[in-house]
Symmetry: C2
Subunit: 540 residues, 2 copies
């Protein structure tokens, strides 16, 4: 009996099913299709055994094993599902197996005896041990492990059903966004990670330098005379946002986006901050802030609906129920919360409220003694977390809430003044921007229209204390071998975008990890990211 | 006459066409679909005018304008196509327009008079200037600009038709790979950029440090006492490869991949090297090196076939013809080369040759005086670029060539010994690895089976001078608040993957930018990357 033929006939992988809408599938014209498909456990569990004695082969790791006198019961798992496949073994077949052991089983996939929890089970014919694990020393035991404990083992916590599910969900979100934007003719960019500018002048940036020249093994390259920071001639940073670079593409491409890593050297340790995170950023040609918000709303709702329809909520709830092995990510989770969140995201027409009206609402709430805040809501100090939480809870009624048109003095230089009539008439000037607040989590998206007019931008930059040249970077290029971002001040190139054929545009940045945490019901972002980097920690 | 209704009826965006296979499209259940679609020039050019006088609105930038006495002719461009849309204006409508000006035109889309080069043209009714550009100062004129000149203006060269095409092609490659892997049940990962290990011990890494604590504005965070490198307690680097992190996921997920930024602080200035590039890496459970190569071959061929079918070759050739404005990226390009390359990639069954046989072939070629090399091909020194070029040209016959089973002494510690019988029997030991050589470009993919056995791995690490602990990182976690990658030696976590339930696996890394350059016929990788970072340069 040959395994390959059985596998191919009984377990078609998704890619084996003809898909005429697939633009990237020309494989079958050729005869070298890779033979890498092995049925994963998710596929097997959703397949009914046929009447025949049906042999299958499956690989995975032992989640638990119960050794009994006459037979043993093994829960086999892999990353494809939070559910386990139950295998029934003769006692001698269980030798050397323990939690964490990697094995390959061949056996009969058959209906389980009536009364069992699972519908089908695998009667083991043969077991091959791929990788042993000392069951006593294996760090992930069949018991409750705190999130803090697991955070110390990022390389192994990946193997818990919960973390494996999060990786799969992250992957699906990534693809879903990619498809969403491509369907709408966006161009996906890979913006630079090492940059010359620190975007918002926030200061909390990582600096990049190269190793000492001695480490170079190339003898055709002269070693540097001065210190190693000069690899790029002047100090360079890890990007804190790709917005400015994305803006440079809007002239040609109209609609662009990226999902790429972003860095902040923040020393604060909160459940919402890490030093390295992935940000989804988009810029579009538009004169309407509403249009930017429409895009954000539609994009997140599309994602949520897709994940909901794909069974991720079921798995998120299943994995929390404890089961085998008990597995939670130390979260104050209750069963209804997740459903509430998802329903809120799937509802249409998320409320939009101006900062001005939000302030009124907060003040009214204080006056009517509906709520007490630690911080007084004041026009010029922005919204505190407690204010955001109150607004998300009361304005949104479970849905996210857009707060728009913040005071210009608390926002970066690149934002366009408000375009709403009521805002334009007011004495306290505001800008055409928004934050999207999620109930319980708060800000997850921030966006604005960008100042596209040359004079207004340079004025705004000077008002914010930035150095702006009156000249195009072209004169630099003409006169010397220096980069447009160096001696002449590091944002002249950004001003150039307005000097030559500017267009009205706007965009936003979404904290991808925060959104994932919100969808997964995980309160600490460090537990959504496989290898989180934060103040004091950068493991592996 | 309302523009919106005309746009929607005449110019359906791709997303407006029902697509029942689209997993991420639930938008139409809701009424807040964003109204961000404007017909781009590619869409308009492929649409025949109807018999009616059909008004359209289109935005773009002026590529050139010819002002004549009775009428003016304007070539309008955007990033959607390398072709221009020709607009016909009354003389007074051309006021203030010059190369680089951003405009929005409303007009009649109608057949051009017989004898004209273009089939249809836009008779302008109204022009709105969105962003002026001083035509004389605008750095991208209607003339030849050298690649070196344009490299000094990364923020503006994006607007040349050639660079706009490259951005669009990069975007399509990204999506095509994403779809390819998802169809095959791969999980896409976002591996860490800041890492503790330098993977191959190459030494040419960038070091990351944070700004001085003074920059922190949070007063609830105590400033550090010692130097700022201590943000993560010990020195951290920008990743040189995500392979080791990907390997950690293989136990659960069987098939994983990533496309993410990678860094090398190499001081060499060659057309094939930059300091920041995107690498596509994958790891799969397998015991067969052939299977890894099958995957690489199928993946690249699928991509090429898709791009070929989508008209990218036509555009690449069109944009090189000069036309409007003349636009090349300073390349020794001849018209047949591109087609040769693409045909070679689309052929099936790329040749595979062992390093051992490749050596013989090189030596035979020298002996038969077929070729002269600057460097003698020697077993222990690896293949030089000239050797790779010869092999790619003679073995591949236009197709890429896999060279497999290199000597273990010139390869990293993590590679599995060769599995081929002939190799195992030989005195000169080799490892189960491959390089994929592209004709003219040379190495673009490298891969191997990974050493998955605990004892063999630790031995190999010691042989390579790496510090390996005999203990699991678990003891560290139990005993103190230190990370598994710090005091105990920074690769213990990687050894742990073999200590607990290891599985046979292999994988590869593909230089995404190099492949793109190969497909686009661009010899210097710096001209494929929008904002290239290399020794001495990091603009914007």
């Amino acid at each position: 009996m040959k395994w390959r033929s059985i596998r191919l006939s009984h377990w078609p992988s998704r890619s084996a099913i003809p898909n005429h809408n697939n633009p990237c599938q020309h494989t079958r014209r050729h005869n070298s299709t890779p033979r890498i498909s092995t049925p994963n456990i998710a596929t097997i569990l959703t397949t009914e055994p046929t009447g025949d004695r049906q042999s299958i082969r499956v690989a995975g790791s032992v989640r638990t094993i119960r050794k009994q006198k006459h037979r043993s019961f093994l829960e086999l798992g892999d990353g494809s599902t939070t559910h386990s496949l139950q295998a029934v073994l003769e006692p001698h077949q269980a030798d050397g197996l323990g939690t964490g052991t990697s094995i390959e089983i061949t056996g009969l996939w058959q209906p389980a005896p009536i009364g069992k929890e699972q519908k089908n089970e695998l009667k083991v014919e043969n077991i091959r041990i791929l990788g042993r694990a000392d069951a006593e020393k294996y760090p992930i035991q069949k018991k409750y492990h705190s999130a803090e404990y697991l955070r110390n083992l990022p390389h192994l916590r990946l193997r818990t059903p919960h973390n494996a599910l999060l990786a799969r969900m992250r992957s699906e979100c990534d693809f879903c966004f990619a498809k969403y934007f491509r369907d709408r003719h966006f161009v996906r960019l890979q913006p630079p990670i090492i940059t010359s500018s620190d975007c918002e002048g926030a200061g909390e940036v990582f600096t990049v330098s190269s190793n000492p020249p001695a480490a170079s093994t190339k003898d055709d390259v002269a070693p540097l005379q001065d210190n190693d920071a000069a690899f790029f001639r002047d100090p360079k940073f890890l990007t804190v946002s790709s917005q400015l670079h994305l803006e440079a593409f809007v002239n040609e491409h109209q609609k662009v986006w990226t999902l790429s890593p972003t860095f902040r050297a923040e020393r604060s340790d909160t459940p919402r901050h890490v030093s390295e995170f992935w940000m989804l950023e988009a810029e579009i040609r538009t004169e309407s802030l509403q249009e930017v918000m429409d895009l954000v709303e539609d994009m997140i709702r599309s994602l949520t609906l897709h994940l909901y329809g794909s069974g991720f909520t079921e798995e998120l709830i299943h994995v929390r129920r404890g089961s085998n092995p008990p597995d939670t990510i130390g979260d104050a989770y209750h069963s209804g919360l997740l459903d509430q969140r998802w329903q809120g995201l799937m509802r249409s027409s998320w409320p939009r409220i101006t900062y001005r009206n939000a302030m009124k609402r907060l003040q009214d709430a204080i006056e009517s003694k509906e709520v007490k805040f630690q911080y007084q809501p004041l026009w010029a100090t922005g919204l505190q977390l407690e204010h955001e939480k109150y607004l998300a809870a009361t304005v949104g009624n479970g849905s996210p809430v857009f707060v728009t048109d913040y005071p210009n003095e608390i926002k970066p230089f690149y934002m366009l003044p408000s375009t709403m009539k009521a805002e334009k008439l007011s004495e306290h000037k505001t800008v055409a921007c928004f934050d999207l607040l999620l109930p319980g989590m708060c800000e997850v998206v921030g966006g604005s229209l960008r100042e596209h007019r040359l004079q207004s931008l340079t004025q705004a930059m000077r008002d914010h204390g930035l150095n702006v040249s009156d000249e195009s970077t072209l004169s630099v290029v003409k006169n010397a071998d220096v980069s447009p971002s160096a001696e002449k001040g590091n944002l002249d190139w950004y001003v150039d975008l307005r000097r030559y054929g500017s267009v009205p545009h706007g965009g936003f940045g979404l904290g991808f990890d925060r959104l994932l945490g919100y969808l997964a019901g995980i309160s600490n972002i460090k537990d959504v990211i496989p290898w989180p980097r934060y103040y004091g920690r950068c493991d592996c």
